[in-house]
Subunit: 143 residues, 2 copies
């Protein structure tokens, strides 16, 4: 496994997250999570994982069975010197299926530690069927 | 409407949130949200509301139609001097129905401003049917 990267901003971690998903790279995926036993990952299925090991195994299983590409759009964000929260809307493309899955509401929580920024929590859940959430999201670039 | 209260900690806001729900008090509910156009509230139905006005109207409608009591259990939390995130599991009791609804995964985001701590984001979604999420949550007191 490669050495942990230094992420200079929450945006860097987020970009690495979506790269890891599109590459199906569970090693890169796990490097961007904080080594925190409290780390939380809630999948859109309603399954919640706690801690690095469970989260790593879960993504490994997902990447083994599916190839996923994500279109993410920023909805809102809050940031302090050591902590950041991004709220996003995601649309998923699975395998060669051209029709989008989702949308999903996503809350990402980032914390800055000794080795830069890391993800400590991802909460993803299905948006309502009407897709209104997508329509009325205000697109804006993060920084 | 009463004057905004000063909340000395994220825990104070959270307690006021659950009080407001159990009282069905939409005035108290809205006072604990930050006056931030980016404020986000995702209901377990998958509907997302943005900004104070939409959030206020939504809770007013909920309180008009249902009487809700919530049992919340802390799963994980992260805190800095001006920002805090609480991840919780909620079980809902609606009206006189003794059977619990949920559980829900909940991510609360708090920000400290000129008038103390306020809620800026609530993301709630249904946990998986197996209720495993409830069983393996690690109960611990906040702090």
């Amino acid at each position: 496994m490669s050495k942990p990267r230094h992420f200079a901003s929450p945006e860097d971690v987020e970009q690495a997250f979506y790269e890891a998903v599109s590459l199906g790279d569970s090693d890169q995926m796990i490097l961007l999570w904080a080594e925190d036993e409290e780390s939380v990952c809630v999948h859109p299925t309603g399954v919640r994982l706690n801690g690095m090991q469970s989260i790593r195994e879960s993504w490994r299983t997902i990447f083994t069975t599916s190839r996923i590409r994500v279109q993410a759009e920023a909805v809102a964000h809050w940031q302090s010197s050591v902590m950041a929260v991004h709220h996003l809307i995601e649309v998923l493309f699975v395998g060669d299926d051209p029709s989008p899955h989702g949308p999903l509401h996503v809350t990402h929580v980032y914390v800055r530690g000794a080795h830069g920024w890391r993800l400590v929590s991802r909460h993803a859940s299905a948006a309502d069927d009407s897709h209104q959430a997508m329509a009325d999201s205000v697109p804006h670039t993060l920084h």
